[in-house]
């Protein structure tokens, strides 16, 4: 932690906080005071002794553990078969979402959208339910599902702390109970309205955020032993509830030159401060939000949002359901055959309750287990879909013949790589007046190489047509359950319109529209500049397509391949 640059001379600035760890302790205390109002805590931390200290304190709230791959039955309850068969009476076991109280979701970054949606619905419907999400996100692209991030009030990031900075945390009931008793007396419409304004200034569009922050400010006022919400309460609320959701900070607030350490406004429950500066403008609260976050985090959280809009990180195919391989999912009714495997245990479980009835119906079958076709449960798995790399190769005259050879070499190397990871490849080439799909998605290395080798060069550059064909191929691949990635090799100087006429202006307009369409569909793309001297147009095009732009390293296909594997995630 760098020492906080001294801004305390300026009036109204949040005062420096010597101990950021104290804010962590405070957040836990606020959560303990009003879990129903704050709805939850998003704890971003890798497993380790620091997180253990936080979890140790939270253990006094007795959270029940929930795993991202929890079955539907764990969540919503179901028939307790063993108890039912033992007693001869129907016995249910309650699901985690049916009871009220505190849930702890471990490995929250692995939480599938279906579970996140269900947890979110449960939080909306049951006011007494609260959730601690332990987010161990390590890499870009891993993140707590937005449906949950939106609903949980508090956010803590423990990754910046070293063990020596931390101390044992305890949640003392002797301090929390009186604050809880005071909570209902505290209301403030001005505080609520100001928090709503600050949220809008920070670009937080969800309207849940101001309500959660208001609950946080109330809890903090109660914790201080006050009956009124004051500036200090709002600053804490903004730091804990808004900072991580901020989409942008207003331009007028200057960016600090030095990376700010997490400084927090004064927080001292023993000596309530009478900050009478009730007219501190909203900028001060925004500053409180800004300074509550470690430097890289905002960018990281925003990257996660983009990744989501792009349909997840590239490098692996999208999830799909499969009957044969992948991660197991709950089994469901179905017929065996056509590749499906019978889930024997689930089938037996399904059949068990009906045995008494069936024996009565079929008395001549004796003591055997009576199975009916409707009992059969088949296994299902979640699988990653196959990825298809669509190469779009510029064979026009403007892409010099020598460069074309290099491009071919690069494609061949990528093909080998794709072959080893069992990716599909497709090849689109363009020259003359239109682009064509030279090779539909296939796994045949030999065919691709042959087509590529026979590729003639020369002619005009129908770039718009290339984009159109690439988009159609990607769409079709998606329709077949594959995850497409586009790789363009071009110098970007399109001069043929979609209708085949040489019209540079028309071609440029069409290219832009198609590039935006590719971006809008969230198809990951890669643009490899094959020109001798890079021109700005290609950069623009890559921007419109939200593609990664890399220059083709001269006469070195091997280093290109290294770059590509890194970009594509292997």
């Amino acid at each position: 932690m760098t020492p906080y640059d001294d801004t305390s001379g300026q009036p109204g600035r949040p005062e420096p906080q010597a101990d950021p760890w104290a804010l962590v302790g405070l957040a836990l205390a606020l959560f303990a005071i009003d879990p129903a109002g704050l709805r939850g805590l998003w704890l971003r931390a890798r497993a380790g002794p620091v997180r253990d200290r936080v979890q140790g304190a939270l253990a006094t709230l007795a959270p029940r553990k929930l795993h991202p791959s929890a079955s539907d039955e764990t969540l919503t309850g179901g028939l307790d078969l063993s108890a039912t068969l033992a007693t001869g009476e129907m016995q249910r076991h309650a699901g985690l979402l049916e009871t009220s109280g505190l849930l702890e979701l471990t490995m929250a970054e692995r939480c599938p959208p279906g579970l996140a949606a269900r947890l979110g619905q449960a939080l909306d419907r049951k006011p007494q339910l609260a959730l601690i999400a332990l987010d161990e996100a390590a890499e870009e692209g891993e993140h707590l599902p937005a449906a949950l991030a939106d609903r949980l009030g508090l956010f803590l990031d423990l990754d910046g702390f070293s063990w020596s900075e931390t101390t044992e945390l305890t949640l003392s009931p002797a301090l929390i109970a009186p604050a809880q008793a005071r909570l209902h007396r505290i209301t403030s419409t001005t505080a609520r309205d100001r928090l709503t304004r600050v949220a809008a200034d920070l670009g937080i569009s969800s309207l849940r955020a101001p309500l959660l922050a208001h609950a946080c400010a109330r809890a903090h006022a109660a914790w201080r032993g006050a009956d009124q919400i004051e500036e200090a309460d709002l600053q804490i609320a903004v730091a804990l509830c808004f900072a991580h959701k901020a989409m942008h900070f207003p331009e007028d607030a200057p960016e600090p030159d030095q990376p700010p350490s997490p400084p927090e406004p004064e927080q001292a429950p023993e000596e309530p401060r009478n900050s009478s500066q009730t007219d501190i403008p909203e900028e001060m609260l925004i500053e409180a939000a800004r300074s509550a976050l470690p430097p890289g985090l905002i960018a990281q959280l925003q990257a996660a949002r983009v990744a989501r809009a792009m349909g997840g990180p590239s490098g692996a195919g999208a999830k799909r359901k499969s009957l044969r391989r992948g991660r197991p999912m709950p089994s469901r009714a179905g017929k065996p055959g056509s590749g499906a495997r019978v889930d024997v245990i689930a089938t037996l479980r399904q059949a068990a309750p009906w045995q008494k009835m069936r024996r009565a119906m079929l008395p001549d079958r004796g003591d055997r287990l009576l199975l009916m076709p409707s009992d059969i449960r088949i296994k299902r798995y979640q699988d990653q879909t196959d990825r298809v790399l669509i190469f779009v190769v510029d064979a026009s005259g403007s892409a010099a013949v020598a460069r074309l050879a290099e491009a071919k070499g690069a494609v061949e190397l990528m093909l080998a790589e794709a072959y080893s990871t069992r990716d599909h490849v497709a090849l689109v080439t363009f020259r003359g007046d239109h682009a064509e799909l030279c090779l539909p998605p296939s796994r045949s290395l030999v065919q691709t190489k042959r087509r590529l080798a026979g590729l003639p060069g020369g002619g005009a550059t129908p770039l718009a047509s290339a984009l159109q064909v690439a988009l159609a191929t990607a769409d079709q691949a998606r329709g077949h359950g594959m995850t497409p990635t586009l790789a363009f090799l071009t110098d970007g100087r399109g001069n043929i319109a979609l209708d085949g006429r040489p019209d540079r202006a028309q071609a440029a307009t069409e290219t832009t529209r198609l590039a935006r369409a590719i971006a809008a569909k969230g198809i990951p793309a890669l643009m490899i500049d094959t020109s001798l001297r890079p021109k700005p147009q290609l950069g623009e095009l890559a921007g419109q397509m939200q593609a990664t732009l890399i220059a083709l390293p001269r006469a070195d296909a091997r280093s290109l391949q290294t770059t590509l594997s890194a970009v594509l995630g292997g």
């Binding site: 009476e89 279906g114 006011p127 709503t196 304004r197 849940r208 529209r513 198609l514």
Partner: protein, 333 residues
């Protein structure tokens, strides 16, 4: 806690209008609400229940039959009595099992008494009412297939253990979801009569008002409901009036021609769009107290009735709402 009052929802006029129109004419066929998080999508759907006029049902009938002779025999009703109930709005939770949707053998009776009996599912409970799916785009494929099948035939068929049960399952489908989490299959999209897109309000005063009302709803529940329930009652009365006026709305040949030409120009698939547009515009005319369907009604109803029925055009960045608006300006000046 009583649901949030419909009238107290700030802004979101298109969403509110769409819901009111389906309440006036259930044949329009439900609403799909797509939009940002925390914009009150599910709040609005839950509030809708309070606006719907009550229905008469045979007491204890699992499929809410209006007449005793419509009650299924497996219901085993002993006495016949008619009672008035609120229109059912049934939640279809994510991760629901097929058995709970369609109904299945009563496991308790099979287990403890060895008897074969049918336990009705959500589809039975939603008959003559609404079926609400929150996060509809995350619904499992096999449940979607099942819903499509039942919505098409209006009948639920369960065959199991030598038992064959059929019962009517006619319901209005209401869905909500966040487009970031995934798209909907066109077949399912088509099942929704209307679709609306909601966004977070941008005006700061509007946002403050939303938070203020929510806070009052949570912390001064009785006072808040006392303030807004009369407005909900007035709205319900207006819906009933519109229902009564609906058959009297005159529809000229010009209006029919307008509907057809908009759908043709937009290239919306099938006749369903045209029919829905006509019904929605008529419901709107009835709601506004008009006696004749005018071009203004058609223009107002077209975006919600058609935007989810367009063929996808990868070249169009503007989105379907803008496409409908553009086409309307051209076709119905």
């Amino acid at each position: 806690m009583t649901p949030f009052p419909f009238s107290a929802i700030v802004g979101q006029d298109e969403m509110k209008t769409a819901m009111i129109l389906t309440a006036i004419d259930p044949k329009i066929g439900g609403v799909l609400v797509f939009g940002d998080r925390g914009t009150g999508k599910s709040t609005a759907v839950r509030a809708l229940a309070a606006l719907l006029p009550p229905i008469e049902v045979v007491k204890g009938c699992p499929v809410n039959s209006a007449r005793p002779e419509d009650c299924p025999d497996w219901a085993e009703l002993t006495a016949i009595e008619i009672e008035t109930l609120p229109t059912p709005v049934v939640d279809l939770p994510l991760g629901v099992s097929e058995d709970r949707v369609t109904g299945a053998l009563d496991i308790e009776r099979a287990l403890t008494r060895g008897e074969k009996a049918f336990q009705a599912g959500l589809l039975a409970r939603a008959n003559r009412g609404y079926l609400y799916i929150d996060e509809v785009n995350l619904l499992e494929d096999h449940i979607v297939d099942l819903l499509l099948d039942v919505a098409q035939s209006g009948e639920n068929v369960v065959e199991r253990e030598g038992m064959s049960i059929r019962h009517p399952a006619r319901f209005v489908l209401v869905g909500s979801g966040n487009p970031e989490e995934g798209e909907l299959r066109p077949q399912l999209l088509d099942r929704f009569g209307l679709s609306v897109e909601v966004t977070s309000p941008t005006g700061i005063e509007t946002r403050i008002e939303v938070i203020r009302r929510r806070d009052a709803y949570e912390n001064d529940h009785a006072g808040f409901m006392a303030k807004w329930q009369p407005q909900d009652a007035a709205l319900r009365a207006r819906i009933l009036d519109a229902r009564a006026a609906l058959p009297e709305i005159r529809t000229s040949n010009v209006a029919l021609h307008d509907c057809a030409s908009v759908c043709l120009a937009l290239g919306s698939d099938g006749l369903r769009g045209e029919l829905t547009l006509l019904r929605t515009a008529r419901a709107l005319a009835a709601y506004e107290g008009a006696t004749e369907l005018s071009r203004a009604h058609i223009r107002a109803a077209a975006p919600m009735a058609l935007r989810h029925r367009l063929r996808r055009d990868p070249l169009d960045e503007a989105g379907s709402t803008a496409r409908v608006a553009r086409q309307l300006a051209e076709t119905l000046p």
